[in-house]
Amino acid sequence: MNYRMILYILGWILNFEGVFLLPSCAVGLIYQEKAGFSLLAVAALCLVLGLVSVYKKPDRTQIYAREGFVIVALSWFVLSIFGALPFRISGYIPSMVDAVFETASGFTTTGASILPNVEALPNCLLFWRSFTHWIGGMGVLVFVIAVLPLAGGSNIYLMRAESPGPSVKKLVPKVKKTAFTLYMLYVIITVIETVFLLAGGMPLFDALTTTFGTAGTGGFGIKNDSIAGYSTYIQVVVTVFMILFGVNFNLYYLIYKKKLKEIRYCTEVFAYLGIIAVSILLVTLNIRGMYVHAGTALKDAAFQVGSIITTTGFATTDFNLWPTFSKTILVVLMFVGACAGSTGGGVKVSRVLILMKTVTKELDNIIHPNNVKKIKVEGKQLEHAVLRSTNVFIMAYLFVFVSSLLLISLDNFDFTTNFTAVAATLNNIGPGLAGVGPTSNFSGFSNFSKMILTFDMIAGRLELFPVLILFSWRTWRK
């Protein structure tokens, strides 16, 4: 284990966190808020600790898969803990466990909150809270790789550990350029959304924070009623962009490179759009009776379906009051999640596709025992390693899910609350149903449960393995 290198990269992570805090400090300055000082103090702390750690570059910079996973997992815990300090120091979130929950929820783009009254926060803290979504969406290590001159091919281990999806592929031969391209696409779409929101008459501050929440598929709103208070135009824009950010970024790269012919191989995206269309249709029909106009029903159905499948977690209505069929659809969508290689969470559409094809193949094998059939995904034959890792992922996912469910049930809430609370955090969505529905929040849970759910959020964002490796004693054995 190359401890020096782990410390070195963590140092850079802190430096970047320090820099990322600065825009929020600027917001504090503009609005003349005292909480700005707590942001500034933490930024300074991060930079001092970070600069000390990166003062000397290690002699041996080689890292392997093991270090890659440990670095990524540790980075996210470090980010969440330091990012929580401004909330704690300014006194707006007095409990450290709550503050870390809130920040981890931000960085992992979950959007689950313990704040009963969001509007009580000063603007600078609101900005920081939403900004964590934007940073966490594309990933911090991806950013570090794009900017830092880290040598060698081993960077791919860092990127692979942080990027979601069953098999992470580079866009261009150099890791650095790939990371840079991804961030450029991310920035461009972010800017477009902000422009659209501003065009709808949204104030700049609201437009920026809403965009950050959408881009990272996070879901922190700056209003107690999330997006419900805004105009229909804005709700539609947010719906469209939520769905866009849930698409695999490789697609945008293909469009950017004008390789339109290759788009037909992006079966995952088509499946994703198909699932969304069918879900919207079913939910609209199911909730039609509750609305006067069919259009409003369609709008609310589309918003909620888009919000849940992309694991954003914004809300325009309290879907807790919807019929059970619609609620069940939403819960199923929570597990499906967005596309691999997007900013969304969940199991990912590509994994669902792979599993469904495996099941079909097994069935075929029973009917025709000598049948030889290879599974194809995205126009290519599925590699055995990907299939195996998908199966293992699902097993690990169930294991973490059930353990968390068992542990938080100690708080004695009803089953729906507990089940959807774990589903909403492990899949990085935000709101669940019943006690953790869109109008409620997670403040009722005990500190122990909050810690479990914080763990779930980070484990879910990093797709389990980095976090499991970090906490596995085998990793640290000499």
Partner: protein, 451 residues
């Protein structure tokens, strides 16, 4: 620069490693998934699994925006097909490996007619490198520049040589010889020495000299410089064939030990003057019987690196004057370095050298091209030959007034065929070629030597 490499064998891997380190965008294509995965994990490159000669695979690897295609799969025909298709699909430069001796005489025809930029034959390259050290057995390594007019020789200073305890600035006056010491390796450290540096017995030094002055220099410092008279080669592969052909043509006796009868018959048909022995080269009795104690040169060319190392150590013990060992795969350079072997040849590195030379020159099509490139002293330094054009900022200025970077040495100026070992007052003129020795890698323009 964007480069596609088809084939992830030994050469493919070396090329991917070296070229990506120099900042090129490398995409590799191979049929074997594990090979591709393995390289992608080790180096900063992208990989595709598939047949490199297939048009659709090449399209996927973005052949349209690729500058150079290098085909180094195990099959010559596949390599040529890869290059043909990429030439049509992407209009890029192409390099193919063709090593079957059957195509040996048609190389230039293939290159011309198929529009290839370069055809590499690793076995032939290795054979000519080995033949050079056999012709000049005191040197560990010999690299040629200026179309063979100047050579860079690397050798160990023997005990009780007059070079022991000699300061470099005294070298010229004491020996009256026109040579320049470029690098010194002492206790695992390699440096480019200054004039006040004192040599010691046991140092491994590289000197540049005009080809015709070498013999005189070695005679003066008391190192025998005559070529070996007889060579025993163990392993009868393609390198052995090419090597035997070269050695026989300069009148050196050749004996090849090969295990397979068929190959022995083939070799005997192709090389009528050589003695072909059928037998196990690793058998001690056979080696003794065939006179390992009397032969002057011994070359281990079997397919197994470990066997080659052992055979060479044994030959050395039996007092063979010059022992050459071929190492294909072993990556433990440090261990091999410490063994008492004379010359170790890494065929994949030789090929990489040739291709690097081409890539550097391609990168810099306007400036002063790299004419020749050799990676010396176990890849720790580079010796490059540049052509001076009118855009070189330092031309016609005496060297002592030029702001040359540290770690860079102007070792030789080839002025209209005349080899000048430069001193402070010499100048580089347009049309000259110069040899630069540098510890910095990735130099591709002569202007880069200036501060």
């Amino acid at each position: 620069m964007k480069i596609i490499i088809v084939g992830c064998g030994k050469v493919g891997e070396t090329l991917a490693a070296v070229l990506s380190q120099e900042g090129n965008d490398i995409t590799i294509i191979d049929k074997r998934e594990t090979a591709v995965d393995n390289l992608c994990n080790q180096y900063d490159i992208m990989g595709y699994v598939g047949n490199g000669a297939s048009y659709s695979v090449q399209l996927e690897a973005d052949i349209k925006h690729t500058d150079l295609m290098i085909a180094v799969t195990g099959s010559d025909e596949l390599n040529l097909l890869c290059c043909l298709i990429s030439k049509m699909a992407g209009n890029c430069h192409t390099i193919a490996r063709v090593r079957n001796p059957e195509y040996g005489n048609e190389m230039s025809y293939i290159k011309e007619e198929l529009g290839l930029a370069m055809v590499i034959n690793q076995e032939l390259t290795a054979a000519s490198e080995i033949s050079r050290v056999l012709k000049f057995p005191s040197a560990i390594e010999i690299d040629t520049f200026a179309k063979g007019r100047a050579e860079l020789l690397r050798f160990r200073i023997p005990d009780n040589s007059i070079l022991h305890d000699m300061t470099l600035s005294d070298l010229h006056s004491k020996l009256k010889c026109n040579v320049l010491v470029c690098t010194v390796e002492r206790q695992g450290q390699a440096i480019i020495p200054k004039g006040d540096y004192t040599l010691m017995a046991g140092d491994v030094i590289s000197v540049v000299a005009a080809a015709r002055d070498e013999i005189a220099f070695f005679r003066k410092i008391g190192i025998p410089a005559n070529q070996v008279k007889s060579v025993m080669i163990v392993g009868g592969g393609d390198i052995a064939f090419y090597l035997a052909k070269i050695l026989l043509s300069v009148g050196i006796q050749v004996k090849i030990v090969e295990r397979r009868l068929e190959r022995c018959e083939e070799l005997s048909e192709l090389l009528s003057k050589a003695t072909i022995i059928r037998g196990d080269g690793s058998s001690r009795q056979l080696l003794e019987e065939e006179g390992i104690g009397q032969t002057e040169g011994f070359v281990a060319l079997t397919d197994f690196d470990e066997e080659n190392v052992f055979l060479s150590l044994y030959a050395k013990k039996r007092g063979v004057r010059k022992v050459v060992t071929k190492v294909n795969r072993l990556v433990f350079d440090e261990v091999i370095e410490n063994l008492d072997l004379d010359t170790v040849i890494y065929p994949r590195d030789l090929t990489a050298e040739y291709i690097l030379q081409y890539v550097r020159a391609m990168k810099n099509s306007i400036g002063s091209n790299v004419e020749t490139l050799h990676r010396i002293i176990d890849n720790k330094a580079e010796a490059l030959e540049f052509l001076i054009r009118d855009n070189f900022r330092g031309r016609d200025i005496p060297l002592q007034e030029l702001p040359i970077k540290p770690d860079v040495l102007v070792a030789c100026i080839n002025h209209k065929g005349q080899i000048i070992l430069p001193r402070g007052r010499d100048v580089m003129r347009q049309g000259d070629t110069v040899i630069i020795i540098t510890a910095k890698k990735g130099l591709n323009d002569i202007n880069d030597i200036l501060l």
